[in-house]
Symmetry: C2
Subunit: 144 residues, 2 copies
Amino acid sequence: MAANGGIADDVGFLLSRASGVVARSVNKALAPLGLRVRSYSVLLFACEWTPGITQRQLASVMGLDPSQIVALVDDLEQRDLVTRMPDPADRRNKLITATDEGYQLRDEALRRVEDAHASHFEHLSPAQLDDLRRMLHQIVFADE
Amino acid sequence: MAANGGIADDVGFLLSRASGVVARSVNKALAPLGLRVRSYSVLLFACEWTPGITQRQLASVMGLDPSQIVALVDDLEQRDLVTRMPDPADRRNKLITATDEGYQLRDEALRRVEDAHASHFEHLSPAQLDDLRRMLHQIVFADE
DNA sequence: CATCGATTATTGAGAATATCAATGATTGAT
DNA sequence: ATCAATCATTGATATTCTCAATAATCGATG
């Protein structure tokens, strides 16, 4: 349990390790809904942004290549969970918006993800989780 | 900057996001050495464990499927950075051990990774990084 | 208005990673 | 001597990453 300064205590290594553990768990929790952690994230952004979020914004906030967003939105759109409409103000942009079914599926997905998270974060206090969030935020947006 | 409780402040999402940012940066830093973050980790474990680490142990500590370890060790072995020898005490196990060249490459890799990490972690104090390490450790080994 | 550079979504290709099932070699216990 | 378990390995399939190229659209400039 004691840190020994080796690779096993490297923050980068632990980040990758923790991320993998949680993502695997979340993927399992979402599998019955036909979602994975990525499509789940897209769905949630679509739910939260009104009147919609562009694919470019999705790529930026999720740290992915824009081409990956295409496939994720394709899937959600085919299942009528989101719509993809050209932005009237700038028709290069496609506005991704959640449908009613999208919002419904999100509710169920949120519950499942919350359960999955609980098993991993139960040993951390709310204050610790706040600190963790803040630090991760710093790492992601270190250059802003 | 303020947390709004949306997916962008989800700890799981931020973990994946931060892990991605750091891994991408480390991969770039290691590319000139012909290493990626995974092979780098294997090399370091091989350097740190004496008289060697088994592939099962590698799979367990790195959170990967054993079959992935095979490919990683294959690569390092072909470049004479590690050796793969049956454990005399139990010949099912293969002991992975770093060669002199392996140790040399590790030294250079450590420098590069340290530089890469610095740009991401510079806003965090040593105490904060300790806290972060501890919390990530809790998440990874929540069930032990 | 016509043109040009920049931006967006999209497609496609190739590498890397994840996940799972099956196999042969080896072990320890029966 | 046999049997179940463990290890490394191979192979198959799906997912993800990374990059380059393209068509549509925009804003600005002449």
